[in-house]
């Protein structure tokens, strides 16, 4: 089916892990007639919700991969990207967000705004994605949608406005009052599929009037027409919708919907809200870099007749080969036509083009600007830009954080080793934050990722999906080395052992460079080092940075200033100056007060207030720095900065000290100096290891 851009929405559903996102998605698919049965997340019927496509996710009750699915609601096509809820997988969230035009943020009416909500909100802000809120679980004991709305205002600083109020809460939750239509809405039928509109119950009249007035006040700011009409008491539904839509798209207003997905209440009005208030692809400006004109930013044209530009945002290896999810930003991608990958500089042909629905798919002939589809059998990486041949554009790269934790994996047999390499090939292609390499010294396979849980999930998948029998080493933190003082060097590399000699002299200094890995400044004058050997020096310094002398980790935050040097007509060469630079670096490094840096994580722990003492203690024992605490009623949140090296096994510890009632999120914050005592220990361990290896 072809639809105009005005009838298209690309949305994500983002949420805290237990706020019922998967159940909500399931209900949406059901009401949009994409599925004909409903399952629960941890399905008693053993089937599991349709969007969780992997066995492991089913077992853990969490969603890891962001499968895309397409539904139709009141004449509009909605592409839904299911986003994962745990912060260890935020690359998946971020990749999904990149291609969204709008989002639904699901909140639990009891838990409200939690640390994960704050993370997701920050990510949505980074990509400028407007969102509407759905306060879920109104049937739960302690449900308080007003409190949650206030939290959106106070904790997230959103101008949150109620578009609905509940009819009854907890066990008495019956439906909602639509403040735009000023009608009570009930959800009849076995699965809430029949929407019944009634007059507002008398006892809710005053509350509805009050909230409607608040809504009009807030929405009037975005429409003079509505303001005038409201003053005369003659506002129409269309006027309100248009004003709320403008406020939402400009990210100045956040409409709040509510209900209980589990009890089949409030989902259809939310779908109306998606169509009414979230932007269509033409209302969002997207940019690409023009690689032919020094990567100048140019605005893309959503016109389907323009030349095609698409972004590959997600890869999945399935039984039929690689499936590449793409978002089309300009023009149209048609079956049988050629495309050009501007990163790999390779041409490719669109063989099969499909529209995805969780695990099933439908073949399509073309995907127009704004649409999300999947390509079959195309070899590319996540983040690649695919264009009509002749264009040379790149969509801005998706921000990929560096991994902070690594682990050795040891397959038990040759067969397992084979399977392991297959699994690694697939996972690294799908997830840019998951990396692997062979350690040149130990010859072990090392995997790297964003946290303990991140690696755990992949190890589980290796075991289950690829039948790899393996053992794992202790997780290791990605330390760095750096310098704290400026130090000068004057180094001559000279070798005369028969044949051609080697000669190169370099002088200059190394300086601390906070916030950047490396900078090379050439101040050599008068050709004292011939121009062709300056890059050799740069190369030599870079080579030295790869492995520090303290504990063998990469060196970062160094500025090298090359000031002077000397060369020899015959004996100077590229290798000679590379060697001189390396020698010079180590000469200065020892004087520059080198230090060890470790990754510091931003930790956020949430739990009942009676456990704050235990939580404080657990953070303190881990060299953590408590930055702030928030107590709100019975819940407390503790924000802290903690070294990653101290956080292994924290989930088990936290569970046991809080009777399983607290949870935490963690993400990389910065690199910071390791305390002297620990630095000594690490250096001693490294020396010990070196000695052992030499003895071998």
């Amino acid at each position: 089916m072809k639809t105009g851009l005005g009838q298209l929405r690309n949305i994500g559903i983002s949420a805290h892990i237990d706020s019922g996102k998967t159940t909500l998605t399931e209900r949406i698919l059901f009401y949009c007639k994409k599925i004909y049965r409903m399952h629960e997340v941890k399905g008693k019927d053993g089937v599991g919700a349709t969007m969780d496509s992997m066995e492991l996710e089913r077992e853990r009750g969490i969603t890891i991969s962001s499968a895309a699915t397409n539904v139709t609601w009141s004449g509009h096509q909605i592409n839904i990207i299911d986003t994962p809820g745990h912060v260890d997988f935020t690359i998946e969230v971020e990749r999904s967000l990149r291609v969204l035009d709008g989002a639904v943020l699901v909140l639990c009416s009891v838990g409200g705004v939690q640390s994960q909500t704050i993370t997701v909100d920050r990510q949505l802000r980074r990509y400028g994605v407007p969102w509407i809120a759905f306060v879920n679980k109104l049937d739960r004991v302690g449900a308080d949608p007003l409190k949650v709305t206030n939290q959106l205002r106070d904790k997230l600083g959103h101008n949150a406005v109620l578009l609905e109020i509940p009819i009854g809460l907890e066990g008495k939750h019956e439906g909602i009052v639509d403040l735009v239509a000023m009608k009570a809405v009930y959800f009849d039928g076995i699965q809430g599929e029949i929407v019944r509109m009634e007059e507002i119950p008398a006892e809710l009249g005053p509350e509805a009037k009050k909230r409607r007035a608040e809504l009009l006040d807030a929405a009037s700011l975005y429409s003079d027409e509505l303001m005038e009409a409201a003053l005369k008491g003659r506002e129409t539904q269309e006027q309100i919708i248009e004003a709320v839509r403008r406020g939402t798209i400009s990210k100045a207003l956040t409409p709040v919907f509510m209900g209980s997905a589990y009890k089949n209440k409030g989902v259809q009005p939310l779908l109306d809200g998606v169509v009414r208030y979230l932007p269509n692809p033409a209302e969002v400006e997207n940019y690409a870099y023009d690689l032919d004109h020094s990567a100048k930013q140019i605005k893309l044209n959503p016109d389907p007749r323009a030349a095609a530009v698409a972004l590959a945002f997600k890869l999945e290896d399935g039984p039929y080969g690689q499936l590449t999810y793409i978002r089309v930003y300009q023009g149209e991608i048609k079956k049988g036509e050629g495309l050009f990958n501007t990163r790999s500089r390779q041409k490719l042909r669109v063989g099969r083009l499909v529209r995805m629905h969780a695990e099933s798919m439908a073949d399509i002939e073309g995907a127009e600007s704004g649409d999300i589809a999947a390509l079959f059998g195309v070899d590319c990486q996540s983040g690649d830009t695919l264009v009509k041949p002749g264009l040379n554009l790149a969509m801005s790269a998706i921000y990929v954080p560096e991994p902070v934790i690594s682990l050795a994996v040891l397959p038990a047999s040759a067969k397992s080793a084979d399977n392991l390499s297959k699994a690694l090939k697939r996972f690294t292609k799908e997830d840019p934050t998951f990396r692997t390499y062979i350690d040149p010294e130990s010859k072990q396979t090392i995997i790297q990722g964003m946290g303990e849980l991140h690696l755990d999930v992949y190890i589980e998948r290796m075991k289950r999906e690829y039948k790899v029998d393996l053992q794992t080493g202790m997780p290791e933190v990605a330390y760095r080395e750096s310098i704290s003082l400026r130090a000068e060097f004057d180094y001559t590399h000279k070798k005369q052992t028969g044949g051609a000699g080697q000669f190169g002299r370099v002088t200059g200094a190394i300086e601390p460079l906070p916030g950047k890995p490396y900078e090379f400044v050439n101040e050599v004058k008068g050709g004292r080092i011939p121009r062709e050997f300056i890059p050799s020096c740069d190369k030599g310094f870079r080579a030295a940075l790869r492995k520090g002398k303290l504990i063998g980790f990469p060196i970062t935050g160094v500025k090298v200033v090359l000031m002077d040097g000397q060369s020899h007509e015959v004996d100077s060469s590229d290798p000679a100056f590379q060697a001189a630079a390396q020698g010079a670096f180590w000469q200065a490094y020892a004087k520059a007060k080198p230090q060890i840096l470790e990754p510091i994580m931003k930790l956020s722990v949430e739990g009942p207030v009676e456990f704050v003492g235990s939580i404080f203690g657990s953070i303190n024992q881990r060299r953590g720095l408590i930055v702030s605490t928030i107590e709100d009623g019975i819940f407390a949140r503790v924000d802290a900065e903690v070294p990653l090296s101290e956080m292994f096994g924290y989930s088990t510890v936290l569970r046991s000290i809080t009777q399983g009632k607290a949870e935490f999120t963690m993400e990389f914050l910065k690199y910071a100096r390791v305390p002297a005592q620990i630095a000594e220990k690490l250096t001693a361990e490294h020396e010990e290891k070196n000695k052992k290896e030499k003895a071998k």
Partner: protein, 234 residues
Amino acid sequence: MLREELIKRSPLRILETSIHGGLGKGNVGVLASRKGVGKTACLVHISADKLFQQKPVIHVSYSSRVDHIINWYEDIFKEIAKSLNLESSADIHEEIIKNRVIMNFNQEGAKTEQVLRALSAMIQYGKFAAETIIVDGYNFIRSSPDDLKKFKDFAAKIGLEVWFSASLKGDDPLFDDQGLPHELKRYLDSIDVLITLHSVENLVQLRLVKDHDYPAPAELRLTLNPGTLLIAEP
């Protein structure tokens, strides 16, 4: 300028001299004025002064945005570092953050017992040896003298000092002829030092109206500079 010199030259030394050597362990100090005059700025400056001296501070607040409070500190730190050309300010900044914890409570929900319980958990289990507690946004209208006494007893038990801000909301005149705010009179037994803030011709004057048990409080020659939001000599 070096940190030592900065501490020595801080206008807060004038405050300390005027109140006979400082607020003191086990004591409660209150800064009172109408809303928007500059209480939070004064409290944060008092706190920053302690932090410069490497003395740990717990900042208790009843507004729900922690980032706002952090910004207060960042602004005041930048202002001090800039105006006095502080040496190695990045290291000092890092140290300051280490010595500061912000604890935020919901105004409606948090009872004094709960706040004190959280504070002692932070000191005991969080191993945070606070010497000063700053309490911003405490509701003196809704609380009782008994609540403030609990804070004072807590301060005495742990051996620390507590500075509060009090927002005065009553009708004029706010103060009696000795300069004491009418609204705070019922709390005077638990207040050791009381300073009121007054807007006078583009400046905010600090007046000392109660100084421990001394009968006649000294004249405080201090103002709050509305540009830098720092306490300064007039």
